[in-house]
Amino acid sequence: MVKEIERAGLPVVHIATVVPISKTVGANRIVPAVAIPYPLGDPEKGKDKEKKIRRNIVEKGLKALKTDIDEQTVFEDE
């Protein structure tokens, strides 16, 4: 899906837990997520902390969308 949306002319960031699958399906901008049942959260951390984790991942996604790339890039923690 990421590939087809990008092919249509929209930049996409793929926030995905299993990064190797994201690479195989051809996503160009990839941000690793937390876990399969909760990619953008962590139920054990409590509401506030969990939202911070989610915000952090989404911000990484926005950063990825702002970054010029030539090939598949995984945006890890810096």
Partner: protein, 351 residues
């Protein structure tokens, strides 16, 4: 080969008869002898081979803790020293296919133990790990078990008979491994090439000796320059839908996607939304759907002026077992609608 060969069998939590998605996070465990589909394989192999141990691991565990899971598998393989590893079949189950492939990588690449498994060709585990195992082609769901097991048994028998020297993919019934093997031909290359060309000109079938690899890649789009002026949309394969799943998107092999309005939503809640996805434990997504589709955070970013606007619709389908052709078609339609609505960038979340 006259002695009975030793086989280690790999299964996920479901076929390993431990449980469904709620058990997908279990670390590897080892059982003596065959389990689940292993019984049918073991019986069919009779005196030629024996499944001595079965490794069972949760699909989510394997994919989230790949190195730990591989360590466990490595330990068992080193201890037992099997002649062959059999894994799956995993059909079109993505995490299971990736796990079978990961096991194959450890066995074949590191320990030189051959691996036989079964996958649907679109399973990402095939593309990723085809070098490391002989993958029999299966149907896309476990309904194909009745054919998958005899096909895998046939390949295992041939493997034993030929002392591990299996022939070509088409002859033996496994999917291409992207490996080139030297062999002697009775005609030289120029003659074979001309023969193929003549067949091609006459519109007849011919079999190429070197298929071109299929690199379907899309060049990255130019980056967004000014996020504060950008309209961003959310799309997910994680199956988030309004409570009650009004479009009845299937929990696996989805035949459709949904388009849902989120104007007025500051975030998603257990009361307003849920997941339709059947490929992961839904408890956490149902409790707070923002964990899959981050509407709450996107609203904050919109309020703070960090993004221009959050698109008032999101698009959702279930990635679990959905065919590539369908996913492609949904995404093309979704992209067209997004472009029509003036969306400039997309965040796509996957579980």
């Amino acid at each position: 080969m006259n002695k009975k060969i030793k086989v280690i069998y790999y299964l996920n939590q479901f076929f390993g008869q431990i449980g469904g998605e709620e058990k997908a996070d279990i670390p590897p465990r080892v059982e003596e002898g065959p389990v689940g589909p292993g019984n049918a394989i073991n019986n069919a192999l009779g005196d030629d081979a024996e499944i001595v141990k079965t490794i069972i691991c949760g699909d989510t565990y394997f994919n989230e803790n790949t190195e730990e899971a591989k360590n466990e598998v490595r330990k068992v393989l080193k201890e037992v020293k099997p002649d062959l590893v059999v894994a799956g079949p995993a059909f079109n189950a993505g995490r299971y296919g990736m796990a079978c492939g990961g096991v194959a990588e450890v066995a074949n690449e590191e320990l030189n133990i051959p691996v036989i498994s079964g996958l649907y060709p679109e399973n990402p585990g095939y593309d990723m790990y085809k070098n490391y195992a002989y993958f029999v082609e299966t149907s896309n769901s476990a309904a194909g078990m009745r054919d998958a097991i005899p096909n895998m048994v046939k390949l295992i028998k041939s493997f034993i008979e030929k002392d591990g020297e299996l022939g070509r993919p088409v002859e033996e019934g496994y999917m291409p491994r992207n490996l080139r093997v030297n062999e002697f031909a009775d005609k030289r290359g120029s003659k074979r090439a001309v023969e193929m060309l003549i067949k091609k000109i006459n519109g007849k079938d011919f079999e190429t000796e070197y298929p071109m690899p299929d690199f379907d890649r899309v060049d990255p789009e130019d980056p967004i320059e000014n996020m504060a002026d950008t309209k961003v949309a959310l799309v997910t394969s994680g199956g988030i839908v309004p409570k009650g799943n009004p479009d009845r998107i299937e929990s696996s092999s989805a035949s459709k996607y949904g388009e849902y309005d989120i104007s007025g939503f500051d975030g998603l809640t257990a009361e307003s939304h849920e997941t339709a996805h059947g490929g992961y434990d839904p408890v956490y997504a149902n409790e707070d759907p923002d964990r899959v589709l981050p509407v709450d955070v996107m609203r904050d970013l919109e309020d703070e002026g960090i993004i221009g606007e959050l698109h008032n619709k999101f698009y959702s389908t279930v990635g679990n077992g959905t065919s590539v052709a369908n996913a492609k078609a949904y995404a093309q339609e979704i992209a067209e609608k997004l472009l029509g609505d003036g969306v400039q960038a997309v965040i796509l979340t996957s579980t």
